[in-house]
């Protein structure tokens, strides 16, 4: 909870003002019944009708003032909690986007989204209600007790005797309910994940007619969620009736003691009537306080989930810059090894070096570690062993922003926003219009973009659903080229392109991006055949390196792949 309180602190001044206004409103509310007692005890016995009207007038005045202060305070409370929520959500989103790929995997995307929405919303509710009721209820409680104490100390003590019972009750209930609410949010994550899977997999599910099965799968989570919710509710259900009962028993004791006091001439009936009236206020305040505890339990569960993310450590510290190694190479991998799960290596002893403007092709079986090389080069993960140098600088010493600015990259199944082509290529960068057009042309995307009515303003649907796989890839390549990157990475980025388009793309890259060092991961020999250097990976190791011609003579695996892909008679017919 501590971290969350930090978000309210900047509004300390406003908060105090809000609380003071609430205090004033509550005190005014408290004053009103005391005039009733004065009417009954002073004005009525003396038969002074004017006094009765005067008192009544004061009561109305108090009511007006109370309303005005209340309204102002509520407005301020809504604004403060709105601002605090916005700040929490901002930081949470920022933190989530800074997390390493591994950390985000751990949190999982649906959970991240529900933390950003439901949990921050719960926090907002907690902030604003606590400001609105959190002051009013305790003040009404304390004020009520104070006034009754002034009226009759003995009777008040009877009432106070009941409070410890309520305190114990609340303590026990909250202790039990917070874990339940935490669990509830977790199960809600599962429910959301299930629905999300059903949306993304709609074609498969329909093709296999698995609707009923999916209904059952969802039903399990739905039932679990309903049950956890009910259990949390059941714990909370005790609070209200029990609090009322304890206080009402106090009330009857007051009547009993009051009867004795009046009979002994030590108190007045008017006093007891007013006392009972205050008692109703105290009871309601107490119930209000218990309700705040319910909200706090729920809010705390959410706050903890938000904090869990906020407190995650920076997984990738930037090391102090050491002396640059003098090297003719642009990119160097020196004996790099890496494992995702830290059990079995995914990459073992990888070394290679590229000069500025050279092209590296990487070929290898599925799971052989091609993408992992890219992940390490861009420092999405840190290598376990070995060093990676860019222009002789260890990448761990380069600030991430500076590092990432050097790259233009297309990942496997990279993502398209539901936005215009222009925005998808620009991707939040400061890139002039002509450059967008040029890069779209180089990426062979211009043809289909310009063929639409809106051109670059043509809008992609969610996940690029209205584009074909090849169109998506070309937009993504345009995105990578638009920033004129030092290093271009295409990870299986042209697999959906037909050969002709692929060839035209390679030609454009070769002619217009001579200074750009390129790393091209592909399944097709034709995509990497012209590279200055080709790595053949197998199970995380380099089993072959060289140019196409060299590998054709020295590397059996490579030659096999080439033969089968090009087709013997097809290749022959062409050359």
């Amino acid at each position: 909870m501590k971290t969350i309180y930090r978000y309210i602190r900047p509004y300390g001044g406003v908060l105090i003002l809000t609380l003071l206004l609430k205090l004033a409103a509550a005190l005014l509310d408290l004053l009103i019944p005391s005039f009733l007692a004065r009417i009954i005890d002073d004005a009525v016995p003396s038969g002074d009708r004017m006094a009765i009207f005067r008192m009544g007038g004061v009561m109305v005045l108090c009511a007006v003032l109370s309303m005005l202060t209340n309204v102002t305070a509520n407005r301020m409370a809504a604004q403060t909690s709105g601002k605090a929520t916005r700040a929490v959500r901002h930081d949470l989103f920022e933190k989530l986007s800074m997390l390493s790929a591994k950390q985000l995997d751990d949190v999982s995307v649906p959970s991240a989204v529900s933390r950003l929405t439901t949990d921050t919303y719960n926090l907002n509710q907690m902030f604003s209600r606590i400001q609105r009721m959190g002051v009013r209820a305790p003040i009404l409680l304390v004020g009520g007790i104070f006034i009754t104490f002034m009226m009759d100390a003995a009777l008040t003590l009877v009432l106070l005797a009941t409070l410890p019972f309520i305190a114990v009750l609340i303590y026990m209930v909250t202790k039990k309910s917070i874990p339940l609410y935490t669990k509830q949010q977790g199960v809600l994550d599962n429910l959301v994940r299930t629905v999300q899977e059903n949306i993304t997999g709609v074609r498969v599910i329909k093709a296999l007619s698995k609707g009923r099965h999916e209904k059952e799968r969802y039903d399990t989570v739905n039932l679990e969620l309903a049950d956890v919710e009910q259990r949390a509710g059941n714990v909370m259900a005790v609070v209200n009736p029990a609090t009322s009962l304890i206080l009402n028993i106090g009330l009857t004791l007051v009547v009993l003691l009051g009867a004795w006091l009046v009979n002994a001439g030590r108190s007045s009936t008017g006093n007891i009537i007013a006392f009972l009236n205050y008692f109703t206020i105290i009871l309601n305040a107490m119930l209000g306080i218990t309700r705040i505890f319910v909200m706090l339990s729920k809010g705390t569960a959410s706050a903890m989930r938000v904090e869990e993310v906020l407190m995650m450590e920076d997984a990738m510290p930037i090391l102090p810059e050491k002396k640059k190694t003098n090297t003719p190479y642009h990119i160097e991998f020196c004996q790099v090894s890496f494992s995702y799960n830290k059990v079995a290596d995914n990459l073992t002893d990888i070394s290679f070096a590229l000069r500025q403007g050279e092209t590296l092709g990487i070929l290898g079986a599925t799971g052989s570690g091609k993408t992992t090389i890219v992940n390490l080069m861009m420092r999405l993960y840190d290598a376990d062993e070995g060093t990676i140098l860019l222009d002789g600088r260890n990448i761990r010493t380069i600030p991430l922003e500076e590092l990432h600015a050097m790259f233009g990259v297309v990942f496997q199944n990279d993502f398209i926003m539901a936005d215009t082509m222009a925005e998808n290529i620009r991707y939040f960068r400061d890139i002039p219009q002509e450059r967008l057009e040029l890069s779209a042309k180089d990426a062979q995307a211009w043809d289909f973009i310009s063929a639409t009515k809106e051109g670059l303003q043509h809008t992609a649907a969610t996940r690029g659903n209205n584009l074909s796989g090849g169109q998506r890839q070309r937009v993504l390549i345009a995105r990578a080229l638009a920033g004129k990157p030092d290093i271009l990475i295409l990870d299986d980025a042209s697999s959906a392109l037909d050969f002709r388009t692929d060839a035209m793309l390679r030609k454009a890259l070769h002619e217009k991006y001579r200074e750009t060092t390129a790393i091209i991961i592909a399944q097709r020999i034709s995509s990497i055949k012209g590279a200055d250097k080709i790595l053949v990976l197998d199970d995380g190791r380099i089993i072959g390196a060289g140019t196409h011609e060299e590998l054709m003579t020295t590397n059996d695996v490579y030659r096999d792949i080439a033969r089968t892909q090009m087709g013997l008679e097809g290749g022959g017919a062409n050359e």
Binding site: R132, T200, N263, V409, A418, F448, A461
Partner: protein, 608 residues
């Protein structure tokens, strides 16, 4: 050249979608209709509901007797010293304790009953939304942001239910309290009750006036939250890309804008909502002032006793308390209405057309497929496929090739009835596919898509997905055939590894192999491969192809692929351009024609 309408011809774009929501916003569901639909949910659990009502009545009666008893006790005490009738006071106090205890017990019971009711209703509602979701056509999801749909399931349903259970009971309770307090006040001092003839209508009309203003604000809040949700979901998905381009700050700025709009939408709704409570509290205070003044005057003229005034004031507090509560509830209700509208809208979305009345099950399929003069467009008036005809003999291999975006996946969408054609006919074994059940049609195909889809479950469950009750042996055999068995058994938990466990780190290609294994388990007569092997390296692909050939044996197979070497063995090749078949024939025939196909073919060997 590409047809201008083609890529735009796809499903809804965001702009169109916004138009769509705007249209949805303007056609507001009448409140009465929303209420009636919500009532259906409560009405289903009538017994619990009746029990709850009975409990509300009873518990409140007991609580309401309290002030009357305490007033009587005060009268028994008398005004001066030594006037008290102690036996009577004691009796009354004992009675009070009994009443309060009973009432507390009943209230506890009531809460439990309501929780049960809430549980049933929320469960049912989530179920209904999901059932509707499952029945929706593919096109619905192609055009909408997932996050927005998820927001309905998590946030909106929750809001409706908070209100249904919480507010429903409050309203009932308030109703009882108000009626009983009113009667009690009438019996004590009818003339004082006149005051409420002024204040109650005042609160009532004021509350209504405010409510009308608050409702659109809450609707806006729900909508904004949905949008924010959609944005966040999208951006979380693209986190790696954002990182790679170092655009965290800019994305954050775009997020801030969305966040700001959402927050200001609900700050405003909330503020207006609390206005109600504050004002009604004011009206209550004023009525208390009036009661005091009039009560004092009445006492002077001998109309009422002091005990009466005491009870009356207590009742009047009880009387106006609920009215105050109600005012708060109005705010909640408005927010619930807005949420309910979104929930109901999702439930009401048009499902896939039901099977034709004469639809028979497609059985004993041979796999002879014909498409005749088919016209189709994703949006009205923008045709993607025109006058398309083809014939696939049972057991043949049909390769569909063409430039990207030429409409190859569209054919699959039509064969599987993910989308319905506008004109023409599609037949399987001579039976019109619109006259067979959709389930049996789809089950007649095995499909391997380009986008791998695995759900969060074990690897075993994922592979066995299409064949319920598949044995371990069958699953392993399929995995072996898909060349993924060795990888799976090397995982710490083998086939029981959960997909989505970060420790497992399964690559895209490996996931694709698993979906292929899933397809291996199916024994349908027709096969669809949608660029199925594009994520797999050539060596593995070769092995898979061997297995696939085995799978294709005796099955009609539709293969969309760019690797010409795999297409060359096809019985029939469709070269699609602009949605139309530019050419069809065998590899040799097409090469001889020297048309688009041969151009595609030679492009393979151009380097720079």
């Amino acid at each position: 050249m590409n047809n201008p309408g083609k890529i735009g011809g796809g499903r809804l774009t965001r702009a169109e979608q916004n138009n769509d929501t705007r249209r949805e916003q303007t056609v507001k569901m009448p409140r009465r209709k929303i209420l009636a639909r919500l009532w259906q949910y409560l009405g289903r659990y009538r017994r619990l509901l009746i029990l709850a009502i009975a409990l509300v009545l009873l518990s409140n009666l007991f609580v309401l007797v309290g002030p009357k008893l305490s007033g009587m006790a005060i009268d028994a005490v008398g005004v001066g010293a030594g006037e008290a009738d102690f036996p009577r006071v004691l009796r009354l106090v004992a009675l009070m304790v009994a009443c309060y205890a009973l009432s507390a017990l009943l209230r506890l019971l009531l809460q439990k009953v309501m929780l049960r009711l809430r549980r049933n209703v929320i469960y049912r509602m989530r179920k209904d939304v999901f059932d509707s979701l499952i029945s929706l056509p593919v096109g619905y999801f192609d055009g909408r942001q997932t996050g927005d749909i998820l927001s309905v399931i998590s946030y909106d349903i929750d809001t409706v239910n908070e209100s249904l259970s919480g507010d429903f009971i409050q309203v009932l309770q308030s109703l009882v309290t108000v009626v009983v307090s009113f009667i009690m006040m009438l019996t004590i001092a009818p003339r004082l009750v006149l005051i409420f003839a002024v204040t109650v209508p005042l609160s009532f009309f004021y509350t209504r006036w405010i409510a009308a203003r608050v409702r659109p604000l809450y609707a806006r809040r729900s909508q904004r939250l949905g949008q924010l949700n959609g944005f966040m979901e999208e951006m979380m998905d693209g986190q790696k890309t954002t990182k790679a381009y170092g655009r965290e700050k800019e994305v954050l700025a775009a997020f801030d804008e969305q966040n700001e709009q959402a927050v200001s939408a609900y700050t405003r709704a909330e503020y207006m909502g609390t206005l109600v409570g504050a004002s009604v509290n004011f009206i209550n205070n004023v009525s208390l002032a009036l009661v005091s003044v009039l009560g004092g005057l009445l006492y002077l003229s001998g109309g009422v006793g002091l005990g009466d005034i005491s009870s009356f004031v207590q009742y009047s507090r009880k009387f106006s308390g609920p009215i105050n509560e109600m005012a708060n509830i109005i705010g909640d209700l408005q927010s619930a209405f807005a949420a309910a509208e979104r929930v109901l809208r999702l439930m009401d979305a048009t499902p896939e057309k039901p099977d034709a009345p004469d639809a028979a099950k497609l059985e004993a399929v041979r796999g002879d497929v014909t498409m005749k003069n088919v016209d189709f467009g994703y949006t009205q008036g923008v045709p993607v496929i025109q006058n398309f005809s083809m014939h696939a003999r049972a057991g043949s291999v049909i390769a569909i090739v063409g430039e990207t975006g030429a409409g190859k996946t569209t054919i699959i969408n039509l064969l599987m009835r993910f989308y319905d054609i506008d004109r023409g006919s599609i037949r399987v074994d001579g039976k019109d596919i619109y006259h067979v059940t959709r389930d049996s049609l789809r089950r007649a195909y095995t499909m391997v898509l380009q986008d791998t889809w695995l759900f969060s479950g074990t690897i075993f469950d994922n592979i066995a997905y299409g064949k319920p009750g598949a044995t371990r042996v069958e699953v392993e055999r399929a995995a072996r055939a898909a060349m993924i068995h060795n990888f799976i058994v090397r995982l710490p938990k083998g086939y029981d590894t959960m997909i989505g466990d970060s420790g497992a780190n399964i690559s895209k290609g490996q996931k694709q192999l698993m979906t292929i294994a899933r397809a291996m388990l199916l024994d349908s007569k027709m096969l669809i491969l949608d660029e199925a092997t594009s994520n797999v390296d050539t060596r593995t692909e070769q092995k898979i192809q061997a297995a696939m050939r085995q799978l294709m044996e005796g099955r009609t197979s539709f293969v969309i692929a760019h690797r010409l070497s795999t297409i060359r063995n096809a019985d029939h090749i469709l070269v699609v351009d602009d949605g139309n078949i530019a050419e069809q024939g065998t590899h040799e025939q097409l090469m001889a024609q020297n048309g688009p196909y041969s151009k595609l073919y030679y492009a393979q060997f151009e380097t720079y």
